[in-house]
Subunit: 305 residues, 2 copies
């Protein structure tokens, strides 16, 4: 079965799906995106992703191409046509097509592209889900809180990780503080046993999986601090793990070739891995295809089982 993409109002074979060479996404990276995990036929953390999408658009002054209810209909239709039960749905919104000029053109419509693809089922065995990381200087721009497609620094960092045989590049800013991974949020259990992840500001993406996990921690009375780690604190950590819509809770067992503690997933990571797996399995998600789950505007989009 060939994959189907949604491109500006049309469902087209993905192999033919194209955008204009004067789309500002292509010429300037003038756009934003989101990736939602699909597990057991349902979107995970939909509302968090759609809220972040709306925020990203606002921050760079791109009008939303449609409201969230309509967007959910299209997302589900792309998932349905591609028969994705486990995988991801990807959406990208750019400012649109215009004669090349840095400043925003007037009177153009934003471009919306949506694709879906199959992925492996949610991992059940944490021992098979471990990974390694390297560290690199964070040379990205000053607004990494916006999920833009200006991703070249992230690509270069991820490529360096791959060349080093590692899963992720963890970034360290000029003041020696851990920011985040090239496409993940970084968490650690520090030498004092405190679970920590960096506070939100302009220098990291407000991770949806980070937010979902934070909610689970609060619901389960598990203490954690939103406070950045210095490089020294990070290298002395008892446990390190990453979160993202596709990494879930990912134990990092070595950093720059040095084992984290005994080189195995620690107890906190193991507990949170299980907790997040239940969250991904559980109630509170939108059906990724079919079902009368849309609510009138202004009400929650979440389904209640």
């Amino acid at each position: 079965m060939s994959r189907i993409a949604y491109v500006n109002g049309r469902y087209v074979p993905q192999s033919d799906a194209s955008i204009s060479i004067e789309d500002r996404g292509y010429q300037f990276g003038d756009g934003i995106y989101e990736v939602i995990h699909i597990h057991d036929g349902r979107f995970v953390d939909t509302e968090l992703h759609l809220a972040r999408l709306a925020r990203s658009l606002r921050e760079i002054a791109i009008p939303a191409p449609m409201d969230n209810a309509a967007l959910l209909v299209v997302l589900r239709e792309v998932v349905r046509r591609n028969r994705v039960h486990e995988g991801i749905v990807y959406m990208q919104i750019t400012r649109g097509v215009a004669r090349r000029d840095h400043a925003f053109p007037l009177g153009i419509k934003p471009s919306l592209v949506i694709t879906a693809r199959h992925g492996n089922p949610f991992p059940r065995d944490i021992a098979a889900w471990t990974a390694t990381a390297i560290t690199l200087p964070d040379i990205r721009w000053g607004r990494c809180d916006i999920k833009t497609v200006n991703l070249l620094p992230n690509c270069l960092a991820k490529q360096k990780a791959r060349e080093a045989g590692a899963y992720e590049a963890i970034l360290i800013d000029a003041s020696g503080m851990i920011t985040e991974g090239s496409s993940t949020t970084v968490w650690a259990v520090d030498a004092n046993g405190v679970l920590r992840t960096r506070h939100l500001d302009d220098h990291i993406l407000p991770g949806c999986t980070r937010a979902a996990l934070g909610g689970l921690l609060r619901d389960n009375d598990i203490a954690f601090e939103e406070r950045g780690l210095s490089e020294l604190e990070f290298r002395a950590a008892r446990e390190v793990f990453l979160t993202s819509a596709t990494s879930f809770v990912k134990p990092i067992v070595s950093v720059d070739g040095v084992a984290v503690a005994d080189g195995k997933p620690g107890p906190v990571t193991t507990r949170l891995f299980a907790l997040f797996a239940r969250h991904a399995d559980g109630a509170g998600h939108n059906a990724a295809s079919g079902g009368p789950v849309l609510r009138p505007r202004g009400e929650s989009d979440q389904t209640r089982p």
Copy 2:
């Protein structure tokens, strides 16, 4: 006459010209570009632009889609088909089309897109070529020396300039030093009468017009220093001007609403405007269309009149 674009080996009507939604230029801004000014049917500073193109590609490990001789043939053909005698030619090279993944995919071919468009003739009257600027914090990434299409910060800065009724946003880094404009090189005659522009490093683009003007300054025994200006020095400058392939030598007569000196182009700017106009008019450029100007590889591509 409809415009013609070159897209990966084909000359197509620009209104139909498209690239895949999975082109990494679109999904990651994983690509680079150049703009060459066409004046009186000739490319201005071709060798500088092609050398910078090659450097940009090397820095992010994208293989050149063709050698410079072949690229010049295509550039000329695009210019010829669009009958551009005064204007610009734009070329963009991205890593190519692949399943979305931050790290570099293996075995793909880079994408090459070339367009040309008409522009106004080279300005003859400096009084009609003056402009204004605002200043903004420089929040771009740490490798602005690479001419990538990750241009969202530049677009946001240019938009702020436009909203303020100004031509350009001049950027100031966290240490209070002038870096460059959102799409231009910044020059100033400081309070001591010294002509200065920032030294090259990772934080500014090595401007081709900057380099060409530097050569003219040396040829004409006009002293200048490659040394960055602090914000204080900049605001006390006697003259400010910008350079780029499309701004040429552009006098800035006010910054943040405050007149530079008496608010008219100064004597140094006026002299350099004339000097650069002669350079653009003059010998040493490649014919933008037609003519047996290619040299065997390894020799200079420049025409000798």
